[in-house]
Symmetry: C2
Subunit: 222 residues, 2 copies
Amino acid sequence: MRNDFMITIALAKGALLKDSVGRFLSAGLDFSAVLDPDNRQLMVPSTCGRARALLVRNGDVPVYVAYGQAQLGVVGYDVLKEHQMPVAQLLDLGFGGCKMAVAVKASSGYKRASDLPPHCRVASKFTYCAREFFDALDLPVELVHLTGSVELGPITGIAEAIVDLVATGRTLRENGLVAIEEIFNTTARLVGHPLSLRLDRGELHSIVEAMRANKPLSNPSV
Amino acid sequence: MRNDFMITIALAKGALLKDSVGRFLSAGLDFSAVLDPDNRQLMVPSTCGRARALLVRNGDVPVYVAYGQAQLGVVGYDVLKEHQMPVAQLLDLGFGGCKMAVAVKASSGYKRASDLPPHCRVASKFTYCAREFFDALDLPVELVHLTGSVELGPITGIAEAIVDLVATGRTLRENGLVAIEEIFNTTARLVGHPLSLRLDRGELHSIVEAMRANKPLSNPSV
């Protein structure tokens, strides 16, 4: 193993971080320093010093991995699907499960997406996913791209429906909304930089395999 | 004045919120409830009950105003320039000042943007602004869109330079970066929905004028 090669792993800040760190720990890479609430560093070495974690926003994980600045990364399938970056999907890590769904006002009477009137407005952070879904349905809609609080869409009247991630459904209920159709399930994925994987001399493969088995590496010094 | 017309004002969460509330307060609209750390509501009526604030993310303010779901909004000039939505710029409110700048590693030796090598990579949240700047400079660059922590760009090597907002310059210094060229200054702007302004029967105009004068409305019941 080359001593001069440091593996960089892009981790999404937020909901997926704790489980991501747990899975890498079980594969022999200890990034638990990133979970310290006082941590201000965005680049954190593993305790063994052979790898480092890059703490970035969800949407930036596929960017760092696609450009090869990180060889591996963990990010939700929803983000992968929305951003369409050229990264290799290696493993479904199983955690961070939620659904991409179409939701409307509970009082609207719409029972499924195909009930929506043609050319109505649909608000979403995930306009690529929404476009693909409504195109497949052959229903022309006007997509309104919002960056947050999409549940405000039907309340303010800027949109008839939304396409958004639903975990417990609490946010929808609190805002008088109801999911009428699921588009896909999403979970956290381990992704890799295609060229780094092809040129890999075993370091990346052993991490991926240890994470697949969800058990420590045979050589925990990596 | 119609009693059935409620003015909706889109306010950006975050750094601009406190000053925005202050300026509307001085114009007779009290939205100080949104500053309560316990507030979870995204739609908050003014104490007089004749207007409501919509608490949204920076980038969504021009969207709500462009669609007329909010008649007025407060947002940074940087966001207006980046998103190019059809809203009317009414007032420069003066607060929230910072600069859009090109920054590089302090150790890079680049003294101005035109020193950057052609076809180098530039990371930014503001790729529209960056594209316009480098096009005017006639310097072809590859833009890498990131959604946060852009200062990581030159450190990780994903980009030679960044285009980002600089307030005090502390984030740059902490990351060994230095601003080499200012692109524009930005401050908070009062924007309006063009059609609502044209159909206005005086309500919006009186708020805009009170904010321009930075003094209470003559009719504080609005």
